[in-house]
């Protein structure tokens, strides 16, 4: 006699059919396309060992590229944080002609292929470009320097901050502002001490997303960066360089370091959201 009702079941019983085939296919396809290739990368980098990874990371050219990628991604995410907040606030709170159009265009960096963004940014900021001409007159060089990388990273990161903060601004309760004003707060005090705190988790999430995207960005950067070794090379470019030299171990090492950075960013995002749900009841 089999006590079926006592048997442990993987899923809660349901009259809806198709669990086996859809769940099985999902696992199969996920493993085939994503998990197995990524596991191969991890396995190959584990063969190098920690000392092997460290040896590659401390090659002067690789170390310079990792530093460039990391510091410029932070800087770009920070600039996106500030301007993203202003853009999100303006698009949500104020009414002005063309607001809908500007709002739709915030997603442009998601939709525009990175190679297109790359060549058009390079054309804009090159010494003979639309902006480059005027910047050259005041002695500022953007294309083919680290500033060029920064511009490209600001471009691709902006929607992450705006789209994460926007829904939270829309949900802010007007009563809180009224209460704050009634209790005698200046508008600036209300903004800083009443409206800003609930936005902090979303701002941090947007910052982390923009940062994570910037770390891995390739297409929009390489055209404007000039790719000068030790100065304006980014880490993803060095993976390509190593591959062209058939240095698979080197490419694998840089890739696993970048993967580690983006997983830490992902973890931080999840922690912020868990904290935010506890503290504010929303993400």
């Amino acid at each position: 006699m089999v006590h079926r009702h006592k048997a442990w079941r993987f899923r809660v019983p349901s009259v809806i059919p198709g669990f086996g085939i859809t769940f099985g296919y999902t696992l199969f396809y996920l493993s085939l396309i994503v998990l197995f290739p990524l596991a191969t990368l991890l396995w190959r980098s584990s063969e190098l060992g920690f000392s092997g990874l460290y040896a590659v990371a401390s090659e002067p050219r690789v170390a310079a590229a990792l530093r460039t990628t990391f510091s410029l991604s932070l800087a770009a995410a920070f600039i996106d944080l500030i301007f993203g907040l202003i853009v999100a606030w303006v698009l949500t709170r104020y009414e002005f002609p063309g607001r809908r159009l500007f709002d739709a265009f915030v997603d442009l960096p998601f939709a525009l292929p990175t190679a297109v963004a790359g060549i058009s940014l390079a054309a804009l900021y090159a010494p003979n470009g639309w902006f480059g001409v005027y910047l050259a007159e005041i002695g500022v060089k953007i294309a083919f320097t680290r500033l060029g990388i920064l511009v490209a990273l600001i471009f691709i990161g902006l929607p992450f901050v705006v789209r994460t903060v926007q829904p939270i601004i829309a949900e802010l309760e007007i009563e809180l502002e009224e209460a704050s004003a009634t209790l005698g707060a200046w508008r600036l005090q209300t903004l800083l001490f009443v409206l800003l705190p609930p936005l902090v988790p979303a701002l941090l999430t947007g910052f982390a997303l923009a940062f994570a995207r910037a770390i891995g960005e390739y297409g929009s950067v390489i055209f404007i960066a000039g790719n000068i070794a030790y100065i304006s090379e980014i880490a993803p470019l060095l993976i390509v360089v190593k591959l062209e030299q058939y240095d698979f171990a080197g490419a694998t090492a840089i890739a696993s370091i970048m993967l580690a950075i983006s997983f830490v960013a992902l973890l931080v995002i999840n922690l912020i959201q868990a904290w935010s749900r506890k503290r504010f009841g929303h993400v």
Binding site: W89, P113, F248
Partner: protein, 296 residues
Amino acid sequence: MSDILIASTQKKQSPRLRGATEDTAFARALLILIAILFLLLFLFAPLAVVFVEASAKGFSAFLDTFHEADALAAIRLTLIVAAISVPANLIFGLSAAWAIAKFSFPGKSLLITLIDLPFSVSPVVSGLVYVLVFGAQGLFGKWFSAHGTQIIFAVPGIVLATIFVTFPFVARELIPLMQEQGTVEEEAALTLGASGLRTFWTVTIPNIKWGLLYGVLLCNARAMGEFGAVSVVSGHIRGLTNTIPLQVEILYNEYNSVAAFAMAVLLASLALVTLGLKTFLEWKYADALSGRSRRH
């Protein structure tokens, strides 16, 4: 009516007594100005320059780009790659969303995180992992080349890398949407005697069609525009393994600016159409799309 009344009384009062939750006209104008300038500088200018540079030497020079055999081959390859990778991820997205949203089982949130994983991986790394698996030095590289099939530096590698980078688009759109909708309608259909497949086609699909379209739209835009991942696995063989973005790179590096931007116009137009349709769907069918904040 009362709003107008309040507004008109406010106007007569001194500026210090304006609405407590309003910013001053100056602050408002300043912030709007900063936001618009920033968006014009960082978003509109890069888009505009594509079209201007493409037509720098006139319309016929622009059109000449598309008489080149390599350009046509690149367009054809891009269409082929999208035609394989988008349906593949569509079927996966439907399947994953069905399993995750209609049933409850342990480890669900881990599964969702794993599905989102490709978005956190650098495009270059996405290409690299396939080189490590299928490349000449890779895990199965020897086996495949012994059987006369080349994956890396050939079309299959490009398709695989594209599938990887567009993997989550449809699934992440459908999962929250189908979770919101629950299982009540499907259960009703099944109770009334409909088969599983019939329930899916006549109950589930109509409920999710706009979300599905939204996911496919974004998936297709990325599939046609992917550069980094495809660049690593393609080998850049002219006329054979160059997609439109790779052709843009080659032309640009050859200082053939007009042709590079002419090819870029195709992709920029695709981006504009995608943005337009996306905005339309969000505006018209907001209720039929999942309410989760949209990030990619």
